[in-house]
Symmetry: C2
Subunit: 346 residues, 2 copies
Amino acid sequence: MQKTGQPTINDVARIASVSKKTVSRVINRSPLLNDDTRKRVEDVIAELGYIPNPQARALALRRNFLIGLVHDNPNAQTVLNVQQGMLEALHGSEFEMVVRPLDRGSATMLEDLRHFLERQRLFGVLLMPPVSENDSVARLCDAIGCRYVRMGSAVIDDNDHMVASNDREAVRIATEYLIAQGHRRIGLVAGPHGFRSARERRLGFEDALGAAGIALPRSMIADGNYTFESGLAAAERLLDLMPRPTAIFSSNDEMAAGIIHAARQRGLDIPRDLSIVGFDDTPIAAHVWPPLTTVRWPIASMARSAALKLIAGADDGSDLVEEPSLFLSTLIRRGSVAPPLDAETA
Amino acid sequence: MQKTGQPTINDVARIASVSKKTVSRVINRSPLLNDDTRKRVEDVIAELGYIPNPQARALALRRNFLIGLVHDNPNAQTVLNVQQGMLEALHGSEFEMVVRPLDRGSATMLEDLRHFLERQRLFGVLLMPPVSENDSVARLCDAIGCRYVRMGSAVIDDNDHMVASNDREAVRIATEYLIAQGHRRIGLVAGPHGFRSARERRLGFEDALGAAGIALPRSMIADGNYTFESGLAAAERLLDLMPRPTAIFSSNDEMAAGIIHAARQRGLDIPRDLSIVGFDDTPIAAHVWPPLTTVRWPIASMARSAALKLIAGADDGSDLVEEPSLFLSTLIRRGSVAPPLDAETA
DNA sequence: AGCGTATGGGAAACCGGTGTCATTGACAAG
DNA sequence: CTTGTCAATGACACCGGTTTCCCATACGCT
């Protein structure tokens, strides 16, 4: 009877006149193998174009080779950067990536995730912010026995479960840069409540102002939710102030684009009348006019590292190089910052 | 001995005092079952929280429940919209989505894909443009026995394997709109060679001009490659012309943003001095100033439909509703188009 | 009562791998 | 010449489902 599908381990074993087990040993690079035998089996494998069936392997090994990406991040570029970083790490391994967006705000979010994890029995999941900041999600993974690594803007878990950037420090440095340019009235467009990144960035902002002895009236802080529109609305509030700020730090680029928009509508020139610093260094930052000075967040590298952490120890050759847990963001200087006008007159 | 993992079909069978096969029948809703038995088994399943192991199922059924998304599209928003549409379709089914970016231009691209498909034995793949336009990829899927559906901007395969938008017609309508506003010198920023969408959009543009009896000198066409930078460069070429165009159709939004950028650098006012129409309706279109008049491409719906086509017939309850194969793009009018100045003086 | 037939349900093989343990032969040590 | 050790390999059960086939019972009919 003609076999229809791909060759199996049995075909290889039969043709090479060895047992399945020996073929299995060849595949798994067992050291206890005669070189002649190995060669013979390898030849047959090559000739047949045999590829082990991952489903069967998964069943026998009682674990599968799927890594989940769980996210509820609204920014497409960010999500795709993470995907790219993950896939880079998974490339060459036997793991594949399955993507699971979560509906933040949905009451059944946790239940959905549990269902997903239990059904698919994933080898591990990578948690993207903001859902990664949710401790009950991490506890759920633990309870189910699913490995996980969280990405975030501050260290909120042990090194094996965490890959973080130093948002607070990065924003402090960015703000210090504005201060060094001579700015004293600096506004903040904050991120949404409940986002750890929003909090870290705000703290970094306050750190810098505090260290420079600059007062931060509540009116200089406007809330946003990381969207273009919210940035626009926040900027309108800030630009109505008398005197108005000479610089604004925006907690992400998307909102910074909204701020630019708002400033332009009032006929303000950037950076002459208003300096702006963003965060993320998404493509939008380089595409607005003027190009945005912003903080670059090494997101793909973080995701890559997170994925490597996840599959570390999964026998398949991945060396036990300790993956870093902290990634440093850097300030990218472009054209949206200049000294304030009133500094020149001083 | 304490079982460590999740309950299996054997546990259910033992506790319900039936055979594995009967449990299997319950799971698969076999009609030849006594209601009492069914109830009893269902109770045990609920009590244990039993969930069938997809790996074991995949092995026994000789097929798995993974749908691949194969893409080499540089636009993050587009890719994510497709993912969202796919996941919508897959939601509630037992299928999961695995993502596979391809390195267009890589010589081993086809070999990489073959390797991926053979190893993972995917149930099916969804092909995004531009790779979906590559016939050898489709043939590869056929040869391997992997189902596939292609997304594209023109019908290039039979309805079972294709979900298309009507780019040509949509661009014709968009261009007719520019003509109706009074424009006669209209430039085109074309997409990259080898992209079907680029060709279709160009053809639609030419259709409209031809029907209106407007000549299209070669100089009015500038090549781009769908990136912001290429749009900027193309616009610089077009805006150097004497007389310069009063309107430009850009084959996508990203390049349109570049055109806006270039126009602004020359002190041109949009839309007074230059009207611009884009394509895609990505978020960028609403965020540039002025908001971009563009063609909206129902990409998530297309992806949803494509995924439904893929899993159609996979027993699991999905009705045999015939999924549409052609999706209509629509013109979204925003602020980047106005009548030309010289029309007013005429 | 005897018999065919439909229906519910079980035993065992199978899917394609891996783990455990036994077997074999070669060789060094006693 | 035995015995022990070790390297190389095979036999067989197992992972958790599905499929095939077969049996037992209940029912309708003559």
